[in-house]
Symmetry: C2
Subunit: 382 residues, 2 copies
């Protein structure tokens, strides 16, 4: 009865697992949730009070988004190394919506979308719903391999390439600058779009920042988000796109929801105006660094010998692979009996799921809860 292309699309296991995290006795490493105790409650309360004090913020507004918010985000992106003006931006209901709108604007059923394996599963869902054919591009510890992308381009002529460039979900990996340059050049040479999804880029715990992929060429569409550095419940993301494409995406946005919440946008503009977000991000990074280190320190004595995992320089996730022929979905069921959770890896694969993989998030729980959760995992694996 539903449209044919939706019949194979499954509900996101991560979203379904959110139900489990509501059981207070479970320590969940599953969802990609920021730590709620680190939200800047005072800052957001003041910002929403200010926004709700102006009746224009309860009215319809422009599809492109609040002018002040776009200006403030453009300034922030420019400071971070990606020169941007207000007119380059569309405000979206989270960066997830930016991804869906770009897909709506660019991808016809049957078009090829090139992705890393593993990659963000809600992106895979989005491309599948658009009827895209997903083609994996080989990657290593440094992310997508440009030579492999060149092969895929020659063979499959992708319409777009999707990359979580920095502290990727789920792998935690970061694409180094030379690869960014190569990928941007390939896109320009082959009249193809790259979507750079960058919700985690500001959450760096060690090493030096790498310029955004979008700074290497104008065939790169940049997706940004306040969810991980501000608050995800406010649902604010943005698309930075050249003016050859942005008006088309704005039309897709009109049809999708007319516009993102006027009051949320006004509150975010007030927040960016009146708060030192850099200081808040520095606080988040200090806290998350400790949580990452706690998890990485516990891992060698927690998981079976022969397990491999990534060492993320930032972001939210560690990606692991167990030795031997195991299914992490079975292990999750056992883990839940010990009141601890993670996400099995298979849904993050576009084509060839590896059932021995899984993802652990280290941001949601305090160091103490991480230690206790790892103790429960140790029992699970014993």
């Amino acid at each position: 009865m539903p449209a044919r292309r939706l019949q194979g699309v499954k509900s996101s296991p991560v979203r379904d697992l959110l139900a489990l995290t509501l059981r207070p006795e479970v320590i969940s490493f599953a969802g990609g949730l920021p730590a709620p105790e680190l939200f800047d409650m005072d800052g957001w309360q003041a910002s929403f009070a200010k926004a709700a004090d102006d009746r224009r913020n309860l009215q319809y507004g422009p599809t492109e988004g609040d002018a002040l918010l776009r200006t403030l985000i453009a300034e922030r992106m420019t400071r971070r190394g990606l020169p941007t003006s207000q007119g380059d931006l569309l405000i979206t209901t989270g960066s997830q919506q930016a991804l869906t709108l770009v897909t709506t604007a660019l991808v016809e059923p049957g078009d090829v979308v090139a992705v890393e394996e593993p990659t963000y599963l809600a992106a895979l869902q989005c491309f599948q719903m658009a009827g895209a054919r997903l083609v994996p591009v080989a990657s290593d510890e440094q992310g997508m391999i440009p030579a492999a992308l060149a092969e895929v381009i020659a063979r499959d002529r992708p319409t777009l390439v999707y990359v979580v460039s920095t502290f990727a979900n789920p792998s935690g990996r970061t694409l180094p600058a030379p690869r960014r340059q190569e990928i941007a050049t390939l896109a320009a040479e082959h009249d193809m779009w790259v979507v750079e999804d960058d919700p985690y880029g500001e959450l760096r715990y060690e090493g030096d920042p790498v310029p955004p992929l979008a700074s290497y060429g104008d065939r790169v569409l940049y997706l940004g988000s306040l969810s991980k550095i501000g608050a995800p419940g406010v649902r604010l993301g943005w698309l930075r796109a050249p003016n050859t494409l942005l008006p088309t995406v704005v039309i897709a946005k009109q049809a999708a929801d007319l516009q993102t919440s006027t009051i949320d946008q006004a509150a975010a503009a007030a927040y960016l105006s009146n708060t030192d977000l850099d200081a808040h991000v520095a606080m988040l990074c200090a806290a998350y660094r400790e949580r990452r280190d706690t998890m990485l320190t516990e891992l060698p004595t927690t998981v079976p010998e022969g397990t491999t995992w990534t060492h993320p320089d930032g972001g939210m996730f560690v990606w692991l692979r167990l030795p031997g022929e195991v299914d992490t979905a079975d292990i999750l069921k056992k883990a839940l009996t010990h009141n601890v959770a993670f996400v099995p890896g298979p849904p993050f694969f576009a084509t060839n799921p590896d059932p021995a993989t899984f993802r652990m998030s280290f941001t949601t729980n305090t160091p103490e809860d991480i230690t206790e959760g790892m103790r429960r995992l140790r029992i699970t694996f014993s």
Copy 2:
């Protein structure tokens, strides 16, 4: 470069005209905007203050929506004659998003969607972007004619039928109860879905309420909204759908934006809990009735002899047709030189635009401004 099906889709003229309404010297009857001076500022301020006081409202939440908000909306719909439980509802970013998600879930490229002519133009946009073939169904002063729908069903096998059942945009017409019954019966007999879009239903200024079309059969998907009775900037709508379809739409919602703003949903739940919305709607109806009457009283001495128009029992719009061979787009240009605006009718037609038609909204302006705007229109037409 953009996807082929988007190349023919134009930006909404109504949205584009919003830019004009920002010029303070223009009295605009163009946009479908509620009156901002009637927003319940105290109620929304208190509701956002309450919502922003709980850090859970800054976190991610369930895709289906806030449980309390769904319960409160279900209770309100049940009181209005459509028995509904929380589990029947998906909260969306305005009812526009509900329409897009239903289209994503049900309509394949090439599928037929049956619509009235004229009808809500952003719905036409949404169906066009999905690659649907639009087939008009004849209508009269009482809206869609069931016998004409039966013919379309026999000939074109539509996947869905779209109806703004009460105080339609743009015509202002309301489908009477016997036609609702017939249309719901046709849908059930032919395994077809009806989308009942009902953002205006509570804004009744005369006559008796008609039960929702969805109360006549379970093949009717109901779209509701707080935009016209609460505040559009909060962007909250909902879909009521049977459990054979709702989970599929929830998956489409996950891919679209994960979820609607947690804090907006919490604020709306607080607003519905702590405010007498029925009393607020009664106040709105009294104010809008006066505005409608002001416009209808002025019309005979404003527009050329031979002009016809609808007499809406509620909602926001009067729909007009000028005599002779005229193009209302040309007249709009002249009207703008007199600092008054309306929307030309052609974009509201799926197939055969009538250039002599136009739409006037009577809710946004005070009676005094309506009188002045009609004076300017009189000069335009003189």
